[in-house]
């Protein structure tokens, strides 16, 4: 058997780890601010899952020869981050955070599902584990989307407009890498376009069932660049803050 392409795997791991680290930090900003106490706890709990998952992914990168997880998370330059634009935005209003959570976590659940069968076995193992954790995130998101979509016209309109704002950002999750072919051929990961296809098929009926209409993909320009290190203005201040906190107490728990 051919040896797996480590650069391709590293690129994939950075995308995933950085997405989770950044979104985990964003979602933890809901602590104390949720519309109801249960939502406060839910977002904090999901943030904790995401930070834990990112740590596991950075640990895999460390096992492949990269720096230690703390340095990877808190001491890298902005251009070295491979997160997508969707996760970079501040929490905004509840509708935005909820829609982002719905769009992102549905893709993540499908991604882990695909990776559970990856030929890169260390990744397959954690994917099988995280797939289970993600179940709770998607159940949570699906329930709330259905509730708000079906509540009343005002609430439906708000959540629909969040959907339209988030959609091009969400398409940026699937920005192709330079390694798509290699990853697919080596059985590591079927690829971003394959994932996007599955994701669209998955969310469309959920949105329709919640009284929401999915924007037209063909006329929507995906927000690309994040996977190549080009980010929105929102990332840098967050990274600075994370680095600052880390410098003050490097031994702090994640």
């Amino acid at each position: 058997m051919n040896e797996l392409n480590k650069d391709a795997i590293r690129d994939l791991l950075y995308r995933m780890a950085d997405d989770q680290l950044i979104l985990g930090h964003r979602n933890s900003e809901w602590t104390g601010l949720g519309p109801i106490l249960e939502e406060d706890i839910a977002f904090s709990s999901m943030a904790q899952d995401k930070l834990g998952q990112s740590l596991a992914l950075y640990t895999l990168l460390h096992d492949l020869g990269d720096k230690d997880p703390d340095t990877l998370a808190f001491n890298r330059e902005e251009k070295d981050f491979k997160c997508c634009h969707l996760v970079e935005y501040p929490i905004g209003g509840y509708e935005f955070s909820l829609m982002r959570h719905f769009l992102f976590d549905s893709s993540e659940a499908l991604r882990f599902g695909m990776l559970a069968g990856s030929s890169f076995s260390p990744l397959a193992k954690i994917a099988r584990k995280f797939r289970g954790e993600l179940r709770y995130h998607t159940m949570h998101a699906d329930t709330w989307i259905r509730q708000l979509g079906g509540a009343n016209e005002e609430s439906r309109a708000k959540i629909q407009s969040s959907l339209e704002f988030c959609f091009p950002l969400a398409l940026g999750i699937f920005e192709p890498s330079d390694y798509e072919k290699t990853l697919a051929e080596q059985g590591v990961f079927p690829g971003e376009s394959e994932l996007q296809k599955e994701w669209l098929a998955h969310i469309e009926p959920l949105l329709a069932g919640s009284g929401l209409s999915m924007p037209d993909v063909s006329s929507c320009k995906p927000s690309y660049g994040g996977r190549k290190g080009r980010h929105t203005e929102h990332l840098k201040p967050l990274l600075d803050e994370m680095t600052e906190v880390y410098k003050i107490d490097p031994s702090a728990e994640w």
Binding site: E38, I41, A42, S44, S45, M46, Q48, D49, K50, L51, G52, Q53, L55, A56, P122, K125, I126, R128, K129, F130, G132, E133, R135, Y136, M139, H140, E253, W254
Partner: protein
């Protein structure tokens, strides 16, 4: 008298004294968190634990507690490795562990077999009155392991050890 050499069984038995920091009635063995124990040269011990949740904040404490306890058992080196070779599921709770959760008024998780169905979170049996006239309030409880339900029969909230 010649001291018998340390056995794997001795280690497992000692690990039953190490409690889960979040649910102190349960040992790490009852939780199914300890996935392997081996003994090397000079009675060095290697224990593998698998996280219940990736972001479990108690992991480090568990590893330290294991080292403390096993340090009383052996003069050799004690190594605790955390890995995902075996992926934790509530299906790995021991019978004793389930019994203790029940006594602590937790609703028990059903068998997961690799997939948590939405059904496993609704109409959960109330640990106080046994009614199934209950509702899921939130799958996210005070710790990652717990979900919150409400019993319409005895009118109180209860926690479920959530199926994973």
């Amino acid at each position: 008298m010649v001291r018998e050499s340390l056995s794997v069984d001795d280690v497992w038995k000692a690990l039953e004294d190490v409690k889960d920091p979040e649910i102190p009635k349960l040992s790490l063995v009852d939780m199914g968190i300890v996935t392997s124990v081996s003994i090397g040269e000079d009675e060095s011990v290697r224990v593998v634990i698998t996280p219940t949740f990736a972001g479990c904040p108690a992991l480090k404490m568990m590893a330290d507690d294991i080292k403390d306890r096993l340090g009383k058992l052996t003069k050799g080196n004690v190594e605790v490795e955390v890995n995902y070779d075996v992926q934790w599921s509530t299906d790995m709770l021991t019978e004793k562990g389930r019994q203790m959760l029940k006594e602590s008024h937790f609703a028990l998780p059903g068998q997961v077999n690799g997939f948590v169905s939405a059904e496993s979170l609704i109409k959960v049996e109330c640990p106080f009155c046994g009614s199934r006239d209950t509702r899921l309030q939130s799958p996210f409880g005070p710790t990652q392991c717990r979900a919150i339900h409400y019993c319409d029969n005895c009118k109180q909230a209860f926690e479920q050890f959530k199926p994973v």
